[in-house]
Each structure stands twice: as structure tokens, then as C-alpha cells.
Amino acid sequence: MSDLLAFDNVWLEYGDKIVLERVNLSIAEHCFVSIVGPSGAGKSSFLRLALGQESPSRGQILLDGKILTPECGPDRGVVFQRYSVFPHLNALRNVMFARECVKAPFTARLFGAARRRAAEEAEAMLIEVGLGDSLHLYPSQLSGGMQQRLAIAQALIARPRVLLLDEPFGALDPGIRQDMHRLILRLWEEHGLTVLMVTHDIIEAFKLGTRVLAFDKRRIDPHAPHRFGATAVYDLPLTNKLPLDTPDVSVSIITIDRISNNEEG
């Protein structure tokens, strides 16, 4: 397994506020990386860097050995917690969107046989995520879980090298969330995906991930808390996974030892 995504001494600063500092990570292909951490620890900033929505202030990010341009591209797919499907397109057209963009640069619409092929492909993808009965429904007619299924199908049809998930199941009911966990693991295996998932749910992180990154600040200056950035303070490869039907136990039984964590990395 080769390194797909590498962070080489990456810093992210806004003015004199340091969000991320000294992030050194390499992410192998077919990894399922869960990213956890307290609010404001730069989880989402980290994801935005990987997405190309922001560029690092220092250091570089390599995708397949090439420096990542700070612009979102079709090599990275994304699913946000909300608003990541197009409300004006039905489910089928939402999934066809990627094909239409690639094949019709000017009209962004396909006609005739090319359109039928794209529709068939999109339909197969929708059936795979369990939306085979909802091809012609608009996102506002879909439940939250179905909208996220649609967002996943929409992202996967573009065959991204990395799939980035930003708290994708955060707004869903616990029962629906279990279904979605099963779905994303199945897709991850079948499509050989590499996944980076930000979550605030530690159980979810350990249940789905093959590797868990915990983001936090290593040091805090009480007089200038913004002068130290966060980084991956824990990097845990998971070999013995939690079973899929793990009940949602209270997070308070997991303790994170902050004292042993002060060595320089």
C-alpha cells in the first residue's frame, strides 16, 4: 500500500491565529481515517486543506506524490453534514451531474445515447445506496438519511481518489446512523475507497475507522491561546475493530490522558 495523501509539515494560520501546526501525516490507500477532537481543534480546517478549499500557510500537501493545488477538484469527493445535494435537481439528475460536467463542457447536459448511459450508471449507483425507489424525487422530498445517501452516491459516481466526509451522519437519528455506518463500510470495501471522516462521535470514529486521528492543541499559552495550533496528537491504527452493532455507549467511559501527551512530536 502506497501513500495516497501526505501532509508534510503543514501549518494553517489566519493572521496571527495559528489553527494547525506541524501536521505530518501520510495516509495510505484504502484507509478509513476517522478524525476526532474538541470543537475548534482544526478538524474541519484539516478537511478543508485536504479538499483544497484552503491552502496551507506553510508546508505542502501531496496527493499521489503531486502537490495539491488549492482548488477543489474531481479527484476528491466530499459529503457535508448538510447542503451537499442540489435542491433543484431530482435524485437521478443529482447523481448524473458529475458525468454531465465531464462529458459536456459547454452545455453541462447530455443528450441521446450518452444521456441514457449516464442515467443508467446513476440509477445503478442510486440502487447501490438504497435509493432505487426515489430516482425522481427532489431532495426536499427525501428524509435526512436519504439525502446523505444521495450525497454519497453523487460523490462516488465521480470515482474520487479520496472521499472526504465532514460529520456526514451528525444530523441523523441513531437508528438511521447505524444503517448509514453499514452502508459506508460496504461502499468503502466494494469501491476500495480511501476515506477521511471528521466526526464528533467517538464511538462512530472507532467503529468505522481503520485509523483514528485525534486533533488537539499540544500546548496552550493561557495568555495567548491562539498562538498555538492543533495537530494530530493521537494517531491510532485500529486492528481489532469494534463490531458494527456496537450500541451507542456513553462517551464518558473513554478517557483521554492529556498528561502523557506533552512530548514534542
Binding site: 479538499l51 478549499q53 482548488e71 477543489c72 477538484g73 474531481p74 476528491r76 469527493g77 466530499v78 457535508f80 448538510r82 447542503y83 451537499s84 445535494v85 442540489f86 435542491p87 433543484h88 435537481l89 451531474f97 458529475a98 454531465e100 460536467c101 465531464v102 463542457p105 459547454f106 452545455t107 453541462a108 447536459r109 427532489y138 426536499s140 422530498q141 450525497a151 453523487q154 460523490a155 465521480a158 474520487p160
Partner: protein
């Protein structure tokens, strides 16, 4: 039950809605009858019969001078100016509003300019338009355009710029170029907003049209009202005003239906 929880159903809502209109109508009839009781030749509050009598000539008989039936010629002229003006507004709003909304650089360059134009009272520019375009149709249409287009442009640009960032990022990860993003993501979501903006602009557009017609014209609904004012012909003014409001309501309903038919997805939350 609390007053805030009293919600009329569809039928009683229609009934309640017509009630104030009926009350106004009946009040007018009484006031008119009272005035005519004291002065049989009163011109300020004409009776319905007097209005029908006055309008008959305008509605059915051709004007001996121009050979046209005045009422319909006025309506056609006014509607033509209004539709032309609003059409130009819609097109320019679509073009400029989309560019401003989609491209942050364009917004930074022209946003303040559009805002500056938008705060100029259009009527204050009417003399300029008459000087620049003469007293013909161009100045009247231009007044509507100058009055309405900046509002529509700003509204549309704000709406497009406020589309969730997630959607724009998602489209880019699906391979969309700037052009494809504008065409497939921003434009379809801007169109229902444009129609909503046009509906709100109908009122101002009529104001500008009638102002322009009142000052310099030889045909049009606004021109006729201001012409017959000299003879205190309330029996013509009132039917004309009623007709204008009917036209405005019809245009509003037509736009709403268009939006519901063409962009059903945008109205699903409202059912």
C-alpha cells in the same frame, strides 16, 4: 383559544379576504348616493351608472381622430411599455446578477457601482432620460429599467452569493468548471428568485410607467388618467385605476403560476 391559533381554512379565508373589498365598495356606493342626493351633478364620487356611461364611449367607439378604440389602445400601449421594461430588467438582472453573484471578483469590482445606481431615485432621473432619449417610447421604458433593474440585480446577486458554500464546493469536486457551476447550479436556483423579484417589482414598475406617461405621452393608461383630470372626470379615472389594479393582480398571479409550474422544487416547502 388564543387569537394566534385561530387559523381560517381555505374557504373562510377567501370569504374573509373579500370582506374588506365589499365593505369598501358598499361604503363608496353610500357616499356617492349621499353626495348625489345633495347635488345631482356631483362629479367627485360618480355613481356606477355614470361610470358605465362614461366608459362606454372609450370601450366600444373608435376615436374619430386616430381611428382607435381609446381604452384598448391605452391598455396595449401601457402593457407594451411595461412588459418591454420588465423584460429588459429581467434579462439584465439575470446577466449582471449572475455574474456578480458567482464571481467574487466581479462583485468586488461592480457591487458598489450597482448599489450607487440603485439608491438614485429613478423619478429624479426622468428629466435626464427625456433629454437623452427624447419624449418617445425609449425614455418611458428606460425609466422602468432604471427603476427596477438595480433592485433585481442586487436581489439576484445576493441570492446567488448566499447559496450554501457546500453546494459550490460539491459541484467543483464533481468536476464543474466556473461556467458549468453558473449554468447548472446557480442559474436554476436564481430563476425562481428572479420571478419573485419581478412580482415585487410590479408595483414600482407601474409607478414609473404612469409617471412617465403622465409627463410626456399621447397614449397610455397613465396619460388618459392625467388627461381627464382636467375635466374632473372621476367617472373615467376610477374605472381606469380599477383596470390598472386588475392588470397588476393578473400579472402577479401569472408570474406566481409560472414559478410554481416551472420550478416546483422551489415551492415544495410551501404546500
Amino acid at each position: 383559544m388564543r387569537w394566534v391559533n385561530v387559523k381560517p381554512n381555505r374557504r373562510s379565508a377567501i370569504l374573509l379576504g373579500t370582506l374588506p373589498l365589499l365593505v369598501a365598495l358598499v361604503a363608496y356606493l353610500f357616499a356617492s348616493a349621499a353626495r348625489h342626493a345633495t347635488n345631482a351633478s356631483d362629479k367627485v364620487l360618480p355613481t356606477p351608472a355614470a361610470m358605465v356611461e362614461a366608459m362606454r364611449g372609450l370601450l366600444f367607439d373608435a376615436d374619430p381622430l386616430s381611428g382607435r378604440i381609446i381604452f384598448w389602445a391605452d391598455t396595449a400601449a401601457s402593457l407594451e411599455r411595461l412588459c418591454l421594461g420588465l423584460g429588459i430588467c429581467a434579462l439584465s438582472a439575470l446577466l449582471v446578477g449572475m455574474v456578480l453573484g458567482v464571481l467574487p471578483a466581479a462583485r468586488a469590482t461592480f457591487g458598489a457601482f450597482v448599489t450607487t445606481i440603485a439608491v438614485i431615485p429613478p423619478i429624479a432621473l426622468l428629466p435626464v432620460l427625456f433629454i437623452a432619449f427624447g419624449l418617445g417610447e425609449t425614455a418611458k421604458v428606460a425609466l422602468i429599467v432604471i427603476g427596477v433593474a438595480p433592485f433585481l440585480i442586487r436581489d439576484l446577486a445576493d441570492h446567488v452569493a448566499a447559496l450554501p458554500q457546500e453546494q459550490l464546493v460539491k459541484a467543483q469536486t464533481l468536476g464543474a468548471s466556473s461556467w458549468q457551476l453558473a449554468l447548472r447550479v446557480a442559474l436554476p436556483q436564481a430563476l425562481p428568485r428572479l420571478i419573485a423579484g419581478l412580482r415585487l417589482s410590479l408595483g414600482p414598475a407601474w409607478v414609473y410607467l404612469i409617471s412617465a406617461e403622465a409627463i410626456a405621452s399621447d397614449i397610455g393608461l397613465g396619460y388618459r388618467i392625467f388627461l381627464v383630470r382636467r375635466y374632473l372626470s372621476m367617472d373615467i379615472i376610477i374605472p381606469y385605476v380599477a383596470w390598472i389594479s386588475l392588470l397588476a393582480i393578473a400579472m402577479d398571479i401569472a408570474l406566481m403560476q409560472l414559478s410554481r409550474r416551472a420550478f416546483a422544487w422551489a415551492h415544495q416547502g410551501q404546500r
